[in-house]
Subunit: 111 residues, 2 copies
Amino acid sequence: MPDLLEVAAEPNRRKLLQLLAAGERSVTSLADHFSVSRSAISQHLLLLADVGLVEVRRDGRNRLYRLSPGGMARLREQVAVFWTQELDLLVADAEALARSTPRPSRLTDPD
Amino acid sequence: MPDLLEVAAEPNRRKLLQLLAAGERSVTSLADHFSVSRSAISQHLLLLADVGLVEVRRDGRNRLYRLSPGGMARLREQVAVFWTQELDLLVADAEALARSTPRPSRLTDPD
DNA sequence: CTGATACGTTAGTAAAGGCTAACGTTTTAC
DNA sequence: GTAAAACGTTAGCCTTTACTAACGTATCAG
């Protein structure tokens, strides 16, 4: 499934991306932060590489993974596409309402 | 699966949220925009309601769904939590590099 | 060379997810 | 009353997904 958002949304992969935000890391070094097997982490990383969110570099017997800036930029754009202006306005309205007295501004409740 | 991001990431549910951004809609009115059955759409809507992204109102024999501003605000926050400053800086860097001449700034390729 | 480390790869399993089809309930029209 | 419309609900199917375990390969130490 090459849907960028779905791939990035999975909790373990989200955590992997967060860890990689700090810099290059080897597979076992990453796997240490999870309860699942190293093999599982490896497969997640390969999937992330497939959709272009991470890149690999070989260093001796290690594979050092790092975020792909280009891929992450594409992700950012996808999120922006989803989050249209209408959604933005709606949320902004909700937050303003939450901060003020719960008195509806323009919606006079009919009946 | 009560993971907000995963629930919102699924393509059909994403499209539902987009449609609902325009305002209240009935189930069949929404289902008209999809190739899958009305039952499938109903189940997606129920899941969206479960995680608090949408709300329902009964009107005669219709159920009018609408976005839950509070839920969408929570989603926005979750995205923001994922998208840490480090990720932001990385992407900004990548975009700047993409716009300029592809001449690596600080990485002198060794060997 | 031998052995250990760090991976990817594969097979196989178990569970989750999305879907359709059929049914039940409430509401509206007649 | 009957019939139809608009839903939710359930059962079952089928595909995908996440995972473990075992194996194969390349690299480094000795």
